[in-house]
């Protein structure tokens, strides 16, 4: 009932805003959108079908890849850190740049759409899978071993089944992401689909079509998110709370040793990435005109006569990007955390708002970005807000779920002393929330970079996102690859930085929640 009222309130707000902005070609109200949908049901249906097909294929392939990666990590634990780091870096590749490259590699057809959809989902499925594949008591593995059976049997008999709830939670996040990936993939030169219609509608000043497509995309995302959530809830009532947990590794006794290990891992993953890049270009026999190799970029940025100028351009763009990303990232985290705290203090509000926040988390950024730009303009405010919004919902959901992890007995203890809600929040619930919060903060890094580059590309025309779009159209592929590498590197570094803070804070604040097996 509460959800229904919430949805109704949103519809009314929406209609009101539409009436207010009438004639400015910014916003179509729910009534016009519904009419458009009814009138163009055939067209929208066909577009939806093809985009759904692309998203579905990408979803299957991406999750399949996640499963293979996760199983590899389980069977070869020594490779875990490296595989995890490389998987992250691949996930951080900016789609503004990967899109055209994939189109060239695939040629006409749905190849790039499916690939981008797969790339959009595999990492968020990989992480919970790694946790889930280990989420079984040690004695179960002893049981298998006591009959003389090895890791493979344990994988089949125990791990693959034990990971299902985690896998399902990952799938839930993956569904909207796959849809987004497919839509953006259609920007690379597709015949048909929701993305194609969206471009057309925006250009044609067809506000009703634009909003109908945005609503449809949002609706489909929410639908799949909720449906998978419902199915998962039925099958596995005890859902894991922390699905994107860090892959814990033994804490080295020595701090210096830990740093050294981190640096070694960074170098190893960097080298692996460069090798993958090189091998992909060479094995695919990709033309050097656009398929630059690591050596070309080294020359472009270091040994070429104009290298300094190239670096300056790149650095300028990076600064612009960071100027938007950092405040947006901080704001998103702070807002998510703050609101979670308020909701925890006043649980009645939360009950109404949380389902809505969970649903809104599913709305793809291609849909939200233009709306926010419309509302806040194309300057810094708009971009920062886009980044913040991208991060806000997942943070809020994670922080709220995390605060619920505070053990009931501890809360009872606080109550028995008549402690205030606020005391309870500060001393019990916030510490209990930290692992979930940091998991969200880590995943927010690639999300922030994705948001800022898409916003720069589609709206503000500055920064690395713009540089990538611009250099792709003017065949300046050296600069395009340089920007791509830099964006990926920045995202990877940001992630590592947050993970480092996480490790230190959790070691201090919540050692008993040390995550993982």
């Amino acid at each position: 009932m509460r959800h229904l009222l919430g949805a109704l309130a949103i519809l009314m707000l929406w209609q009101g805003a539409a009436l207010l902005l009438e004639g400015r070609f910014l916003l179509a109200g729910p009534w016009d959108v519904a009419r458009y949908m009814a009138e163009h049901a055939g067209l929208l249906g066909r577009a939806l079908r093809i985009t759904l097909l692309e998203a579905f294929l990408g979803f299957v392939i991406g999750n399949g890849a996640a499963l293979i990666l996760a199983v590899t990590v389980i069977l070869l634990p020594r490779l875990q850190a490296l595989i995890g780091a490389v998987a992250l870096l691949v996930f951080c590749l900016p789609l503004v740049a990967t899109g055209p490259i994939l189109r060239v590699l695939w040629g006409p057809g749905i190849g790039p759409q499916v690939t981008l959809a797969a790339l959009a989902v595999y990492y968020t499925s990989f992480l919970p899978l790694v946790v889930g594949l280990r989420a079984a008591p040690a004695s179960w593995f002893d049981l298998v071993e006591s009959y003389g059976r090895g890791p493979f049997t344990a994988l089949v008999i125990i791990r693959l089944r034990a990971c299902l709830p985690y896998f399902f939670a990952g799938l839930q996040i993956a569904a909207p992401a796959a849809f987004l990936g497919a839509m953006v993939g259609e920007f690379t030169g597709a015949e048909r689909g929701m993305g194609v219609l969206a471009i057309r509608a925006m250009r044609a000043l067809d506000v009703e079509a634009t909003w109908a497509l945005a609503s449809l995309a949002a609706g489909v995302s929410i639908l799949f998110y909720s449906a998978l959530g419902a199915v998962g809830h039925r099958l596995f009532p005890d859902r894991p709370a922390l699905i994107l947990s860090a892959q814990s590794s033994a804490q080295p006794d020595n701090w210096v040793l830990g740093m050294l290990r981190a640096v070694a891992l960074g170098l190893a993953s960097l080298i692996t990435m460069l090798l993958l890049w090189w091998a992909m270009m060479e094995l695919g026999d990709v033309n050097r005109f656009f398929g630059k190799r690591p050596a070309d970029i080294w020359h472009f940025l270091v040994t070429a006569p104009e290298a300094a100028a190239h670096r300056a351009t790149l650095w300028q763009a990076a600064q612009d990007t960071l100027r938007y990303t950092l405040p947006g990232y901080g704001m998103g985290l702070a807002l998510g955390l703050g609101l979670a705290a308020i909701f925890t203090l006043f649980p009645t509000i939360a009950a109404g708002v949380l389902p809505l926040a969970i649903a809104l988390r599913a709305i793809p950024i291609v849909t939200t970005a233009p709306l926010i730009v419309l509302a806040l303009g194309r300057g810094a405010t708009g971009t920062i807000t886009i980044v913040a919004v991208m991060i806000f919902f997942p943070t809020l959901v994670a922080a709220l779920q995390g605060m619920r992890q505070a053990p009931g007995q501890v809360l009872d203890l606080f109550d028995s002393y008549g402690a205030s809600r606020f005391t309870r929040l500060i001393l019990a619930q916030i510490p209990a929330m930290l692992p979930a919060f940091f998991a969200a903060a880590r995943m927010a890094v690639p999300a922030a970079i994705l948001a800022v580059t898409v916003a720069e590309w589609l709206a503000t025309g500055s920064g690395l996102g713009n540089l990538m779009a611009l250099t792709a159209s003017t065949s300046d592929y050296n600069m395009l690859w340089s920007s791509t590498a830099l964006v990926t590197l920045l995202a990877g570094l940001g992630y590592a930085l947050v993970a480092m803070v996480e490790k230190r804070v959790l070691a201090e604040m919540a050692p008993e929640q040390g995550i993982g097996p």
């Binding site: 910014l26 067209l43 577009a47 060239v104 953006v184 920007f187 033309n287 656009f290």
Partner: protein, 330 residues
């Protein structure tokens, strides 16, 4: 996952090229040779002549099976041509020049748009009729197009610093919503969209004020020009025939476009208007005299000058008229 265009081309060169057969199209029982033609944007009447060539069999008659690959906001146009996944592509002189500067061995084979479609669109209440009117105005455009505006200002002696550039997405909403005074766009899309929505608008075609950059140019690599000449010739022949029909009846071209791409979300009335507006860009006294796609030394010289203002140094041999000459001499 990777298709390997280059190795495919090696194979071709190794044996099949002489027979004029592409490996891609060598389907059993069919003599037709299949080629991929890379368009520069989503399907619309912008490429109406090509659709006519396709549907009337102007290509099939010559034993050519053509795939028309659409572009998009994040679609590569030049790379597939360089890589050989597309035999021919539609580019523009400035993009082609940039690609050549970055090592692409392109030649411009024909010019579909004699006049560049870049336009300053404004509203009648606050119109831009000539470049001088831009001073003191807010212009909405992609920052990527700054050099275009710069060139226009330089040609017409307008002080660029008096214009405020507002980065916008490529849509008309900011102008209609009053966020900007004018837009840098194509004559054939946003102004058409506004007209269709019942919004009166004023357009100033930059080509009328000295901005000479060939647009919708047909490009291919030097290698293809040498080794796949027959296919290129057939492709262009079909284009010439298709655009001849297009000029004769733009409404039919618009109708065909909507019919061929029911999933593209095209509106017939909009397509008709766009088709009509495209005519003066594509057909001129020059094409009247020599045929579709033609250019003269003079227009190339003007292009080289404008491209110079855009920071692109090119020479006249970027344009290769040999295929057109072959078509029109017979």
């Amino acid at each position: 996952m990777t298709i390997s265009p280059i190795s495919r081309r090696h194979l071709l060169q190794a044996g099949l090229a002489g027979a004029g057969l592409s490996l891609l199209g060598a389907r059993p029982g069919r003599a037709a040779s299949a080629v991929n033609f890379q368009l520069s944007w989503l399907h619309s009447v912008q490429f109406g002549g090509s659709y006519i060539a396709q549907s009337k069999g102007y290509w099939a008659d010559q034993g050519l099976e053509v795939t028309l690959s659409p572009g998009g906001p994040n679609a590569p146009v030049e790379p597939p041509v360089v890589a050989g996944t597309a035999l021919m592509g539609i580019s523009a002189a400035d993009y082609t020049a940039a690609a050549v500067a970055n090592g692409a061995p392109f030649k411009i084979l024909a010019v579909a748009m004699q006049n560049n479609p870049f336009t300053i669109a404004s509203l009648p209440g606050n119109p831009v009729h000539e470049p001088k009117d831009l001073m003191g105005k807010k212009i909405g455009m992609a920052t990527a197009n700054t050099p275009v505006l710069q060139a226009l200002c330089e040609i017409n002696g307008v002080d660029m610093s008096a214009i405020e550039i507002v980065p916008t997405q490529y849509d008309a909403a900011p102008l209609v919503a009053g966020q900007v005074d004018c837009l840098l766009c194509w004559l054939t899309d946003l102004p058409v969209a506004m007209t269709m929505q019942g919004i009166d608008n004023v357009t100033m075609l930059m080509a009328d004020f000295g901005y000479a950059v060939h647009s919708q140019t047909y490009i291919a690599t030097e290698d293809s020009l040498k080794n796949r000449r027959a296919e290129l010739l057939a492709l262009l022949k079909g284009e010439v025939a298709g655009w001849r029909d297009y000029k004769a009846d733009t409404d039919a071209a618009a109708a065909l476009t909507v019919e061929m791409f029911p999933d593209a979300g095209l509106d017939l009335a909009t397509q008709k208007l766009q088709a009509e507006r495209q005519i003066p860009l594509m057909f001129s006294d020059l094409t009247e005299a020599h045929g579709f796609g033609w250019w003269s030394e003079d227009t190339v010289a003007a292009n080289i000058e404008t491209l110079g203002l855009l920071g692109r140094k090119v020479s006249a041999d970027l344009w290769d008229r040999s295929l057109l000459e072959e078509i029109y001499s017979s």
